[in-house]
Every structure is written in structure tokens, then in C-alpha cells.
Symmetry: C2
Subunit: 222 residues, 2 copies
């Protein structure tokens, strides 16, 4: 029915990338996909924040290392202005350390620049489908994050059910009095339980207990 060369129902994808050749390369690649077209390429985060909101593309390809504002910060601001905008981080292999900040900023996927055109297309389609495409290396880092949390919670398995309730309340910032009210117990009882909890968790303060319970991050004095 519709002419293929007009791409009538294709999805708008914007690009934010400072290097001219790379930017043009991606734009050509996107236009070569039937499902997508690229009406907007930006050379900086600042340019992106000016032009992209008005255009309201479905997806933005975002580089992380940009001259002024970083791609992470740009991602956070675009998401704040228009949360429906899906942002696919597409960056060099070295900066896998930026994965967590990128996800925290609201990124919807994280690919490496040297991905194949087919992988890029698959990732874009995955995003349209509500997925969060990641390379296997990125996914492994994400999984590692949870394993770390799991390990730090091993000691918690040794806590009694009541003690678990206590540490759970602690980690929501409640004071002893608030915990006592919540569980309908005496403050003295909470203090008594806390002594056991601290001993079993090998900590000396509630802040340390919370840190360990919620825990990533290397380690307190201990």
C-alpha cells in the first residue's frame, strides 16, 4: 500500500554523539532499517536538550562521553522532561563502569558501539517491545550487583523471624520507638533484639547494620 521509500510508519530515532563520522554512520544505519528513521542528530547534550523534546522521538541513541554535559546527565534530563522517550546508551567498550549511573538516570538499554547492525536493530525492536537490551557483559555486571547484595544478606538468614522484622524496619529508617509502636512491643524489647541483631551481623551501630543490609559498597571499619 504505502511506498517503501517513504517509510510512512517508521519510528523516529534521534542521535546524540559528538564525533561527526560516528554520528553520520549511525544516522545512515538507522535510515537503512525499514522500521526506523533518523530526522535529528545532535553533537552535544546541550543541543539535544534543546531540539529533542520538541521532536519527541520514540528512541534516542546516546553516547556517554560528550564534551560538555555527559550523556548520563542528558539522559536524566530528557527522561525528566518526557519519560516516554526511550534512551539507548550506545558507547565504547571501556566505560562499562557507567552502567549503573546510566540505569539510575533511566536508560532503557546499554549497547556497545561495535555491535553489529543486526544487534542494533534487534535492540531497538526490543526497546519498542518494552525490553531493556544489554550486552552479555553488561548483564553480567548487573547480575553481579545482585549477587553481592545476596552475599551481604547471608548473615541475615541466621536471624530469627522477629529479628528480621527489626532489621527490615531499621533499613526503612525507623527509630527504636517507631519500631516498637509498629510491632506493638516495648522499646526495651527492641533494644534487646537489636543487641542480638548487631552481634549476629557483626556491626556496632544501626547505620552500619542498614549499610550492610542494603549493602553494596566495600566495607566499614569492622
Amino acid at each position: 500500500m504505502s511506498a517503501r521509500q517513504q517509510k510512512p510508519a517508521s519510528h523516529l530515532v534521534a542521535i546524540v554523539e559528538d564525533r561527526d563520522e560516528v554520528r553520520e554512520h549511525w544516522a545512515r544505519l538507522l535510515d537503512s532499517f525499514d522500521e526506523f528513521n533518523c530526522p535529528c542528530t545532535c553533537a552535544s547534550a546541550e543541543e539535544a536538550l534543546e531540539r529533542i523534546p520538541a521532536l519527541a522521538p520514540e528512541i534516542v541513541l546516546m553516547d556517554i562521553f560528550l564534551p560538555g554535559m555527559s550523556g548520563i546527565e542528558c539522559t536524566a534530563r530528557l527522561k525528566q522532561m518526557r519519560p516516554a522517550t526511550r534512551i539507548l546508551i550506545l558507547t565504547a567498550s571501556d566505560d562499562e563502569e557507567m552502567v549503573f549511573p546510566a540505569l539510575e538516570a533511566g536508560a532503557d538499554g546499554y549497547l556497545l558501539k561495535h555491535s553489529t547492525p543486526a544487534a542494533l536493530r534487534a535492540a531497538l525492536l526490543d526497546i519498542l517491545d518494552g525490553g531493556v537490551p544489554m550486552t552479555s557483559g553488561i548483564a553480567r555486571r548487573v547480575a553481579e550487583h545482585f549477587r553481592k547484595r545476596g552475599r551481604s544478606r547471608e548473615e541475615i538468614h541466621r536471624l530469627s523471624p522477629r529479628e528480621k522484622e527489626i532489621i527490615e524496619a531499621l533499613s526503612m529508617g525507623y527509630s527504636n520507638k517507631e519500631i516498637a509502636d509498629k510491632l506493638s512491643l516495648s522499646v526495651e524489647t527492641i533494644r534487646s533484639y537489636l543487641k542480638n541483631v548487631y552481634e549476629k551481623m557483626h556491626v556496632r551501630s544501626r547505620a552500619e547494620a542498614v549499610a550492610k543490609y542494603m549493602g553494596d559498597r566495600s566495607g566499614p571499619p569492622d
Copy 2:
């Protein structure tokens, strides 16, 4: 060179699943893949813990809902005994809430039971490649987790560099005195900074600040 029907270099995959038909279905499916074969199927976590360590398969397909011990607990124990064992959670669609506990237990992937044979095979190959295969719905939940953390850290952007150092130290469980020593400042100075930090973060105690900073979980009194 080698005969195809012997599958000489195929990878060992064990199965833990209580329902007989499902278990047999997976076993047949696995054996139909050239790269994999299934010499061990277990009907319970307890059976798995007895038989799987001796066999040392490369991958274990694990159901979550098992009669006695859960698949999560079984995953944690298998991983503890032999961390090299890769465990792919393969379970029903309803229990997506188990994603985080599963990842914390050390799961290497999370698929839904109704995945296609091709998707299962792709996931197994991804695991051998070091990846952590997830369905798009699972990946979305994982991404949501980080976004939540990001949002809770927005208030932190308003902290001055020194104040960020303080909250960073707080979240490692340090006391005011320890922070003062670390930063070579007076304890009074730390207390002074903490007042500002608490105000900017809208909290009233260090435990609450740590909880918010490390933050998932709904919310304290506030």
C-alpha cells in the same frame, strides 16, 4: 569427524522440576539440541543437592516453586558448593516477584516456561558465553530497580562535594568520629555538615539517611 548421534562435545545440563511431564518435556528438548544433553533430572531441590554436585553439570535448569525447599534456596546452595555451576531459572510467568531473590541467590538467567525452544537454546548459549539471559519483562523490572535508586539520589545532587563525602562515609557505617578522622576534620564540623545533609535529604537520623541513599524500599515516616 565425530559422530553426530553421540554428541561427543555437548554440554551437560541438569533439570530441577517437580512436575513429571514438564521435566520430561525439557529433557527431551535439551537432548534435541546438538550442543546440549541432559543426563540428570531431579524432581526436588533435595534430590538436586544430592545428585548434582557429583555430576558437575555446566548448567542447571531450575524451577522456583518446588514442594519442599524452594528453587531459590536450592540455587544458593548449589552455587555455594560449586560456583562454576551456571543456573538458569525457568519458571512460570506469575512469579516475576522472585527475580531479585533469584539473582541474589546467584542465578545466571531468568526465563519463562513458555519460552520457545529457540529462545531456550539461545539463552543456554548466552550463559555459556558469560551472559545473563532475561526476558524483556524481567529486564524491565531490573532496570526499574535502578531507576528507583536514581530517583532517591536526586536530592543528593543538591549536596555540596563535601556533603557528598559525608553521606558516602555515613553509608559505609562510619561514626562521626571516624568520618572526622578520615577527612581530617573536627567532629564538630561533621555534626555541622550532617545538619545540612539531613535538611537537604529531608531525614532526621543517620539510619534514615543511609536508607534513603542506598535506597530502594517504600518509605520511612517522613
